[in-house]
Point group: D2
Chain length 271, copies 4
């Protein structure tokens, strides 16, 4: 892959990953690559973006993230197209989305330039409500009642079927998100390559299993005001009775992979 | 049981149970029983209390509740001592706490006067924080992180053991509450007579089973600000790092039972 | 669809479905359709097969089953190709695989002849061991240790990953089977149309979630002798350490559908 | 505690624990304690029992087990009274029932003689069928259908309640057994001190939660022939329709404890 324009993003508030980001930016600049950093990171010769939102304005060849999974999720949420991300684990987090450690960066850049990599495309999901589409999630959309003292009735519509029950909320997870919040609430592990979504009811009055469905339109209606958490990082709201539409996002998340390792999520399970 | 002073409580905002409460109050008055109603219910000859909080000021022989389980929970929260409750299901709710229907009221009062009943005493649980004890719960105390975008780490201490993990919250349920919120989140069903508590972790990052322990002191510490929901009706708060102490409430909830029916919660399971 | 050759199969040992099968056979014969019955059912003018195994020898246009889901599973196990089945619920079983009741048979045959139907194709799964392939399953293959006093260690290999743990067994279910044995042991509900398989561990020493994977080769190795139950109807065996290969069967199960009803399995959940 | 008569039991077929048993026997003999070994272990000066069954004939002060949890379960099954056991983990097993390692034996014997220990008494459970009582279990009684192709209907009766459903089997576990087979099938973790039993349904057609009940009589009736596994070591059988009675065993299992460690089962959960 020809690397002409690359952005480098570090974990918010982490000195360690900010320093690592500066080092990576310098390496890129030394290879005559147009390099972008995000404020407050500044590197001589690099272009500075004021906020992550600007990522989508540039026609980038690659984004390099330094931090944990939270940083990766945050970047993908701000990428509308298929710009690939190389994820570097910095800061001791588990990082099941990470591909390499900081020590492997030189080799990784060389391998990418030589086309010794593959792209790992993952389904993303997006919610919309009242005609407005919210930013996409790589892992999950978590809809939950806003008021702890009201028992909400949630309607889940898929194709011609409707499931309606009193419950605290519902999670719509992608295969990537199957080891996240959905798993914690009893959902199955899904192979990363599948084109499906998981519907995991949260605290249904009468227990209700997770359902795995094709990645088509899912409609959620909650009898009380609710919160819509996107990858547990951004929270939107919907009013009672408002229709929330969840569907596959138009573009997948794209990871640059240098190693063939099979099911990355398995590490979550101790394998 | 000699019925000298009896209070009648109806479901908030339900015309049907308000009317039923008036009818029951009149029946009691006709038997020369000192009868209390709660505002806005007024019956000629009965004494009116302005709020449920006043229940604890009178030395009542019995409280009669008309409504669903919510009404019963609300009354018990305002009873500090062992005043028994006769629960009447009014209004079509499921009412697993209810003992009789409104048609059975005359017979029920006569049976109670003739001592043809038994008392069903149930463990209650109470939380305290910062030296302040909150009202007791018949079903459960549900501690949950206040902020949907922060992953909370929750420490659960019992006797000499500590369980510490990232999770959304934790439920401490009584046997009565075992078919409620704890069940919805994967907890076991407990026989109503047991002197134990259930600790049900909510959405632990690595799945964690419910734990059943003797009804002793449990300490919960949450790494972020949290909400403390009492029987899903009243919400208190605790700051991050603050110790929340959960323990058996000094006095049980007492139900007047006219029928020997065994495990009432089983109806929840379809039996 | 032109109906030239049709077989009629009834539930084993059920007088009610045997009589219904005879009635259906007569209706088919009256339409000049070559009709097959299975011993002991005999109808004048119909051809009698001695056993279900003979179904695969004839080039049938349709098989009509009368009974519960067990009958349907049994017929599919004996069909190697894509011969469609029309399922009639007879005998009071739940029958989530059933399409019509016996009262609807005349109309159903007319609709089929007029091409007013659609074919619902479902993934099937088959196990092989020691070079021998066992009959296919519509619902699931359940591998379980043969000896109740031996703790078996089971290795599950998929693509490049291996999961290895002490457990009692493992279920490989199709989407159709997701509401069956896999569900009873904690597995998710899968939309019937998906091209995936569910791996549900049975009683793993350390709890292990169900995994949903593409319908590719899965290898199972059990440290002790084990049983291989095919749709809970036929049991084969494998020795300790022997490799059992599970994969999608070459041909799907094909149902004739007259009604568009969405997720048939939902009925299992009470919807 | 005065140690006059002590038996030493090693893991079957383990050279390592047999050698350790011999060493321990010699230490006991050197202290003038009457020492018993079990065939094939022979030590000069010690009395040899031919089989574990003979343990109950002697009025022993202590039994020392060397091996894993299987050895401990086996010994308890052959002890009818409250003879305490000191458990020594030999052979690398997890051994959540073990108290000390072989290196700690000298100190342990001295502490026991000086009364620096406490007794940890655990509820045991026993099944009887057709008037015959089977040996007791420390962990669980697991009743399972004998035939993999028959769907069994199991009736569970407790006090005045009956639960009846199609399922593969049912586990009745003690608190000690709560981290064992019952846990693997979805049951809760129970504090070791509780006087309760857990009823964990195995693969119920419609999911059914574990139930925790007082340690009273439980009756199980299976519609098909079934196996009754006692601590997964001994298997008995019952015919279809036969009543199997499970109840608390008359005498608890007694562990000698030298360390105050709280919930030993927590180690199972990674704490």
């Amino acid at each position: 892959m020809k690397l002409q324009k690359v952005a480098v993003v570090s974990k918010v508030g982490s000195k360690e990953s900010e320093q690592a980001a500066k080092d990576v930016a310098k390496k890129l600049l030394a290879k005559k690559i147009i390099t972008y950093t995000i404020s407050p990171i500044e590197v001589e010769g690099a272009k500075k973006m004021e906020a992550l939102e600007e990522l989508k304005k540039e026609n980038l060849d690659l984004v390099i993230t330094l931090g944990g999974d939270g940083t990766t999720l945050r970047v993908f949420r701000n990428l509308e197209n298929e710009t690939p991300i190389l994820t570097i684990n910095v800061g001791g987090n588990r990082g099941i989305l990470a591909e390499i450690t900081i020590e492997e960066i030189d080799d990784a850049i060389n391998q990418i330039i030589k086309d010794n990599f593959f792209l790992d495309k993952r389904t993303r999901v997006t919610a919309s409500c009242g005609g407005k589409e919210f930013p996409p999630a790589l892992n999950e959309i978590y809809i939950s009642r806003a008021n702890l003292t009201k028992t909400a009735e949630i309607e889940i519509k898929f194709q011609n079927d409707t499931v309606k029950q009193k419950m605290d909320g519902v999670i719509i997870a992608t295969p990537s998100g199957s080891t996240g919040h959905s798993f914690s609430l009893g959902g199955p592990i899904l192979h990363e390559s599948l084109d499906v979504l998981i519907i995991t009811p949260v605290a249904p009055v009468y227990r209700l299993a997770s359902m795995v469905v094709p990645d088509e339109r899912i409609e959620i209606i909650c009898s009380h005001d609710c919160n819509i958490a996107i990858d547990a990082q951004v929270v939107k709201t919907a009013g009672f009775g408002e229709s929330i539409i969840i569907k596959k996002y138009k573009k997948p998340a794209v990871f640059v992979r240098l190693k063939k390792r099979g099911l990355r999520q398995m590490s979550k399970l101790g394998f």
